[in-house]
Symmetry: C2
Subunit: 236 residues, 2 copies
DNA sequence: TGGAAATCTGCGGTCAGTGCAATGTTATAC
DNA sequence: GTATAACATTGCACTGACCGCAGATTTCCA
């Protein structure tokens, strides 16, 4: 009853194994830290052999991060296929916004436990090794946007820096919005924060005055976040 | 005759070994690709044991990327110690600008061969593994700026997203400026490009009109860059 | 000149990641 | 329903990154 091709039993098993590995990897790492979990243990928890693990993910990092093999192609196409009337800026904003929303949906979706999901996300942002892996992933994301924007504009990204700047701003806005959305407890969707970050970045970071509204939007979404810490504080 | 402490023989040897390892790593990787160079070969080329390699660098990547252990502390302090009259925006811009310039100076400095230096930089930007490592390094750079800005402003970066946005924009501007400066052959310093990227990012990405001047600045610096490619072109 | 301290190195070990070949499982043709 | 092709799983053996340790060597300083 699917749209394109009914997924066969093989496909279903494959997807299940993939999810099991990913979920096991995240869980174990959240419990014990990235360095204290072996691939063998992850595979064990998902009830497959260690060798099979590497048939699904190219590295231990990839399983924890949750690398979707054709996400990037999808994003590329999404930028290209936005209405021709839209500026590149609008097209990228729309695509990134949708991506943030879909990402947030996973918090509820994968299991019925958003709290567990947030715990694991926090791990990814905390562990040094995983932070590095995530940064690499984000950079790849950005590269996809660069080439898509250049293609859309018909310019050569090797010469025209505009696609690079736009992609950097867009990906940064998305990334920061999701982080602060999660810090605020993950209420609703990060889309308004994404928009606010876009406004802040693209509308003029320097003009502190005109920035206030956008930042108020970013801050205001998490009313329960304690302000006890909102004082000067050195962080080592 | 140094300012703080006369470097002892030990220090000099240590620095020399460090540089030798780094230069050997970059050279071998530029020749044969990251995956086709072993730590043992790098150590061999620098005339130390493989075990000693890991006394200098925590990983193979670090040697190629050229991780300076206390660069981040320096940058943190630089942001803090900018004149109190400056806005955070101006302070960060100044620090990032200086950093870009200093980075560019290495092109001539390390050896008398800037061409060789550019060849190796290109490798870092081309090889997937090194791109990932570089992205991770850049993310760490950005984190340092975030905490420094927050400290300077006396806000908590966990709550106030402004430091994160500013740092992201600054680091992105710096990174893109250096890349396009290098693509243009590395004439002069990347500082004007950094400024232009700052203007583009901070002054309003969306307003295509007002952006034209900044981008013209970015493009115009490499007059010899062939415009034969400056046509529509899909990049797979 | 004689230690004290830092550095270099070899050794043994763990674990990530890969190619290969055997085995098991699912899909398909008849 | 069975044969067979296609694909997935697994074990095995191997390379190479990386670390802790302990002994040898070099550099420093009194």
């Amino acid at each position: 009853m699917e749209l394109v091709a009914p997924p066969t039993r093989r496909d279903r098993k494959k997807l299940a194994t993939r999810r099991a590995l990913q979920w096991a990897a995240l869980g174990l790492v959240a419990d014990r830290g990235y360095a204290n979990v072996t691939v063998e243990e992850i595979a064990e928890a998902a009830d497959v052999s260690a060798r099979t693990f590497f048939n699904y993910f190219p590295s231990k990092e990839a399983a924890v991060i949750g690398h979707d093999p054709d996400l990037f192609d999808t994003l590329h196409d999404a930028v290209i296929e936005r209405p021709a009337g839209e500026s590149a800026f609008e097209a990228v904003r729309a695509v990134v916004r949708v991506r943030s929303e879909r990402f947030a949906q996973e918090a509820d979706g994968v299991t019925g436990d958003p709290g567990e999901w947030f715990r694991r996300m926090k791990t990814v942002q905390t562990d040094p090794h995983l932070r590095a892996a995530h940064a690499a992933h984000t950079a790849a994301y950005e590269r996809v946007i660069v080439t898509a924007v250049a293609e859309r504009l018909g310019t050569d990204p090797e010469i025209d820096p505009y696609p690079a700047l736009l992609a950097a701003a867009a990906v940064a806005a998305s990334r920061i919005a999701v982080v602060y959305w999660a810090k605020g407890g993950g209420v609703g969707t990060p889309a308004p924060l994404t928009d606010a970050a876009f406004v802040a970045l693209a509308g003029g970071l320097a003009a502190d005055g005109q920035l206030a509204a956008a930042l108020a939007g970013l801050r205001g979404t998490d009313p329960q976040a304690g302000r006890s810490q909102n004082r000067k504080e050195a962080c080592s």
